[in-house]
Amino acid sequence: MYRNIQLYTRFERLWHWSQAGLIISMGVSGLEIHQVYHLVGFEAAVDYHTTAAWALIGLWAFAIFWHVTTGQWKQYVPTRQKLRTVAQFYVIDIFHGKAHPYERSARSKLNPLQRLAYLAFKLVMAPMLWISGLLYMFYNQWPEWGLASFLDLSVVALTHVTGALLLITFLIIHVYMATLGRTPLQHIKAMITGYEEVEAPNRQRTRGE
């Protein structure tokens, strides 16, 4: 028994997809700046990277405002409830064709694993990238800001690369897990339309029943 509910508001969807586009373009240009490959040249790559960074900062300003004013930040509060069950689902149960154990609702859209992962993104990876990235960008202002005496560019650069590599890892897992719905495109469609068929509450069901 499924019912169609709105999980993602229009702003969330706009935020998610523009953030995805910006992060991917920053990854592509960032890896070029890091000399992993050659596409558009260093200068153009830096320009893209910088432009996308400012766009993303703008987007985050809106997103933070939205999270605070709507109280949606609570979606990311970690919980141990069902954490083990959900982890067990991805490691074992999924191979037995069992359905996802977490019941989503508009009030609690994220399963305990997602909460942890997204919180890590928001509190660890993103700040790592933002802080190191902005320091990188404003390297010439370090003396004015009194940072030059103790901060070294290599530390900032390596932090930025570390953050980027973690985010790439996050992205791979995120994209893969987005395909683990009842059909590969179920979650992705939901992220586009905002609506998803979730299982009716309080009914334990297994696949194929």
Partner: protein, 520 residues
């Protein structure tokens, strides 16, 4: 149709003639020297002309006597070293000391035969070599700065047409350092007499057409911008005429500190010399510069004992019995170093550590930690020089002499004699035992400024093996990375990728095996 063509050609010729006339005649002057009685006479020598000049320009010779151009002496206030041609060694012909009248062909004076003594005489200042506008004034080789006989015959006309200095004046000496056009500096050769915009945006004959003195300007004949004391970073910025020191021999003195439209480029100005990006190569004027001069190879003759001169297919002399072997380059790629303007020379009295070759003939100082240092481009001249294997010093080699003077290397091809003669003349201690050391000499590159579109792009340096590959002391994006972090990071990505693919495959295989229907 032929008429139209003829007309067009004629018109073109007239435009060109007008352009070249305006290039040589300075209409801004309020004095027509041809109208001066003092110059309406026949001159028998250079000093006679100078006397005539001094009858009006009474202080000129006194001003000139105070210049490095005259004294060939420069005391570097930053290192305390006594420099100037009379004191330094270079990796071309070594020292001019014993080679008086030959080397002083390029002195701005007349009759300086013995470089151990100071040049003297007010009438011995050579006004014409710098102020000739006819381009016909020539100094005679080996005549201690006196003009050629052909020049003497034209002195009246040359004197009546004097004017401000132009590129061919400075170039008559500075383009030919090292004995051959373009040989020495790498960024100075006679392609700069009539350069295109491509070769040098400021000296472009059809454009700005700057004479050398537009940047190397000075008061009282003191020319600014000596290589002996380079201003590696001009903190003064734009020099406003009438207010500031008038020193224009740096890019910043006109362009300031924020010359680019793009902030990120301006962010480079504090650590990267303008020249580094804007002079992507030296010897850009199709004239080669010397990169290697090996004196140890000199003196070989053919079977009949005649001196050899061997040219390569491009027409460059790659071997000469008188000088040794050479290598040349056009469009040479500079080497880059941190540079704070301080250059320390290896002088005649300095002990060499011949175990540590190459020996720097001059070492540039600077580092990433020094805020007055910037990364500069250099032509690095390499070669081998004679040295005293017992006293461990560079040696004065007596190279040029009169035909009878067989102690001169170019006459006798014998180092035993020439080194003895050179050191005796200079009063330099010499054990009599000589060998050859490999040396380097740094020539900062600052001329032949390319158009903006030919400047280095970011990738030239911001890449793993770019132009800055060997410049140390700082982290450079695109060049520097942590191999450990790369390994761990990309391993993590690879493991996750494998995990994801493994998970997907396992799901597919296991669920299909169970006949579980639709596998996502």
């Amino acid at each position: 149709m032929p008429r139209v063509l003829a007309f067009l050609i004629l018109a073109c010729c007239m435009i060109l003639a007008a352009a070249s006339a305006s290039a040589t005649n300075d209409f801004s002057s309020t004095a027509d020297h041809a109208k001066f009685k003092e110059l309406q006479k026949v001159f028998a020598s250079g000093p006679e002309v100078t006397k005539a000049c001094l009858s009006c320009h009474t202080e000129a010779s006194k001003q000139l006597h105070k210049t490095t151009h005259w004294t060939w002496e420069f005391e570097n206030p930053r290192t305390g070293q006594k420099l100037g041609k009379r004191h330094i060694m270079n990796s071309f012909c070594g020292s001019p000391l014993s080679n008086g009248p030959w080397c002083t062909t390029c002195h701005i004076g007349y009759g300086w035969e013995d470089l151990r003594k100071d040049p003297v005489g007010e009438e011995n200042v050579d006004c014409l070599v710098c102020h000739d506008t006819t381009r016909r004034y020539r100094k005679q080789e080996g005549a201690a700065g006196h003009p050629t006989r052909d020049t003497v015959a034209q002195l009246t006309e040359i004197a009546q047409k004097v004017g401000k200095t132009n590129r061919h004046n400075c170039g008559s000496c500075h383009f030919h350092g090292g004995g051959v056009n373009g040989a020495k500096h790498g960024d100075l050769d006679n392609s700069l007499i009539s350069p295109t915009f491509y070769l040098d945006v400021h000296m472009d004959e059809m454009g700005l057409n700057f004479p050398c003195a537009r940047c190397h300007m000075g008061r009282s004949h003191q020319v600014q911008g000596s290589r002996y004391a380079t201003m590696a970073r001009d903190r003064h910025g734009i020099d406003v005429p009438g207010r500031d020191d008038g020193s224009r021999a740096s890019c910043e003195s006109c362009h300031g500190w924020m010359p680019h439209g793009k902030t990120k480029l301006n962010d480079h100005v504090d650590r990267i010399a303008c020249q580094t990006c804007h002079i992507p190569a030296y010897a850009r004027g199709n004239i080669a510069t010397k990169m290697w001069w090996d004196w140890s190879d000199a003196g070989r003759t053919d079977e009949s004992g005649e001196a050899l001169s061997i040219e390569d297919p491009r027409g460059y002399e790659v071997y000469s019995s008188k000088k040794g072997s050479f290598e040349f380059v056009r469009n040479g790629r500079p080497e880059y170093r941190w540079f704070n303007g301080k250059v320390r020379y290896t002088l005649l009295a300095d002990k060499l550590d011949d175990a540590k070759q190459p020996i720097p003939m001059n070492a540039v100082e600077g580092s990433a930690d020094d805020p007055d240092s910037r990364i500069w481009p250099f032509k690095v001249m390499r070669g081998r020089q004679p040295y005293d294997t017992v006293f461990k010093t560079l040696l004065v080699n007596h190279i040029a002499g009169s035909e009878e003077d067989k102690t001169a290397f170019w006459r006798g091809l014998d180092f035993d004699k020439s080194l003895k003669a050179g050191t005796d003349f200079a009063g330099q201690p010499y054990s009599g035992e000589y060998g050859f050391v490999e040396t380097t000499m740094m020539w900062p590159i600052t001329h032949m400024v390319a158009p903006a579109e030919d400047a280095l792009t970011c990738d030239a340096c911001h890449s793993r093996q770019g132009r800055m590959a060997d410049v140390g002391g700082f982290h450079m994006p695109g060049r520097d990375f942590s191999p450990v972090l790369e390994f761990i990071g990309f391993l993590l990505v690879a493991v996750v990728m494998t995990g994801v693919i493994g998970h997907a495959v396992a799901r597919f295989v296991i669920l299909k095996g169970k006949g579980g229907g639709d596998v996502p």
